[in-house]
């Protein structure tokens, strides 16, 4: 027992009183940092005693990569990611790519905030969905009409 477990206990007590079911597991956290030419990649993964691996990309944009059950899966995921980023860094729109992704992450958070705070009319909600469908269609078009890197 140490100060960390005391801090955990304080948080858990409040969440439990809010109605949450809280499970504590011992685990290890690893921080992974790649410094490529044009970009920094930063991941965090957590291994717990139930042999679950939670991987998250933190930089260049925040996204949950998923839950894995084998260490090789995490390594393979990061390997594939790294290859893609290295490829993508050859593109002449790479700086715009990272800012687009950051903007998307920020927009997701905004959608959540607006939906949770305001009484959003049905037509506005459908408008938002329409815009997302437009972006998906544009991405499909790019897939069909552009050369592979």
């Amino acid at each position: 027992m140490n100060n960390l477990s005391a801090n955990l206990a304080e948080v858990d007590m409040q969440l439990t009183q809010m109605g949450a079911k809280v499970t504590n597991l011992h685990g290890l956290v690893s921080f992974i940092h790649f410094n490529l030419d044009q970009i920094e990649l930063f991941y965090v993964y957590n291994i717990n005693s139930k042999n679950q691996y939670f991987l998250q990309m933190v930089k260049p944009f925040s996204t949950g990569a998923g839950v894995f059950s084998k260490p090789q899966d995490i390594v393979q995921y990061i390997k594939d990611d790294l290859k893609q980023f290295k490829n993508a860094s050859n593109s002449n729109v790479f700086p715009e790519f990272t800012s687009v992704n950051q903007a998307l992450c920020s927009t997701i958070q905004s959608v959540k905030d607006v939906f949770m705070t305001y009484n959003v009319p049905q037509d506005k909600m459908l408008q938002i969905k329409g815009k997302i469908d437009e972006i998906s269609a544009l991405l499909d078009d790019i897939r069909h009409t552009s050369a592979v890197l």
């Binding site: 100060n3 304080e10 439990t16 597991l25």
Partner: protein, 422 residues
Amino acid sequence: MELIVSLSIFVIVMALVMSEVVNRTIAAMAGACVILLLGIMTFDQALSYIDFNTLGVLVGMMIIVGIVKNTGIFEYLAIYASKKVKGDPWKIILSLSIITAVTSAFLDNVTTVLLIVPMTFVITDTLNLEPLPFLIPEIMASNMGGTATLIGDPPNIMIGSATNLGFLDFIMNLGPIIAIVFAVTFLIFKVLFRKQLVLSPEREREILQFDEKKAIKDPVLLKKSLIVLGIVILGFSFHEQLNYPSALVALSGAALLLLLSRESIDEVFSNVEWPTLFFFGSLFILVGALEKVGLINDLASILVALTKDNLLLTGIILIWFSALASSVLDNIPFVATLIPLIKAIGANSGMDITPLWWAISLGACLGGNGTLIGASANVIVAGLAEKHGHRLTFRKYLKYGLPLMLLSIFLSSIYLIVFYLI
């Protein structure tokens, strides 16, 4: 030559431990290894000085508490107590302090405050009250509770291990004075803190909204834990009659609870404080070296000559010296050194030294209340408070801790004089 070397190594290690320049476990381990490397004692001799009974009690209780804390029982008790007293701040302080003292009588003080203080923060945040009037009494309660039993504080575990004093001996001889000291201390706290505990009715209602039943995470594990704890307490109460060392009771309880709980062994053992165990082991070797070279026996002879075989004088000197030293120094190395010294006094003088054990126990354990650095539990609480945005400074604590500690030692001295020393 061996005497000078052993003493020098001991003094250097103690200086490093007290100054916190180096982690205490690292300092003690390094010192013990130097003792062995220089051939002052053999490896087998070193092992013979290690009090494995003390280590066994510590390990056993660490394993037990590592499982029990997962049940949510401490959170339950904190909420139940707060609701039972209808959110009255002073009564919450008293209830939480009683829980702290009782828990501390069976678990070590650091573990106790790590369990109780987070609950205290949630309660004081809900009541919108300053936490320090809650934390300072809890610090003192943890040190008091630990004084009352064989297993409540490492000095008592070491004393019990070195002597024939059992669990019931500690309760019957120290329990009454601890109860008196607790009552007097908390009467004084009530007067000191009364102006800081003004509560609004809305906040009182909020605390009553808490549901203590939600706190119990694993009711089945809780039942099993309480049964095993009951068996362990019974085991401690009768360990002398059963001729079982206290470590066997603690370790058997731990094994039984591990078997019944089916908790992951890795998770449970991560609660075992290995640095603390290695610190103890190394310290026993360092003190053992002083014994082997005859220094302890020489010191005992000097003390006997100075006190002229007078039990009263020796007892009073010991309790006050232990208390004042313990208020600024770590009491574990201090008591570890005193134990062979007291035994040597007994051998050299023919006095009944039993009262002297009570004197050291009261002095070393209650002395920890004197300053913020007097006990590890005090430092831990100050650290948690700072992280929570409330600074418990050395000076602020000293205003309450030192006078109340001196009062407790004064009361303890009277108790010892009346019942043991004359």
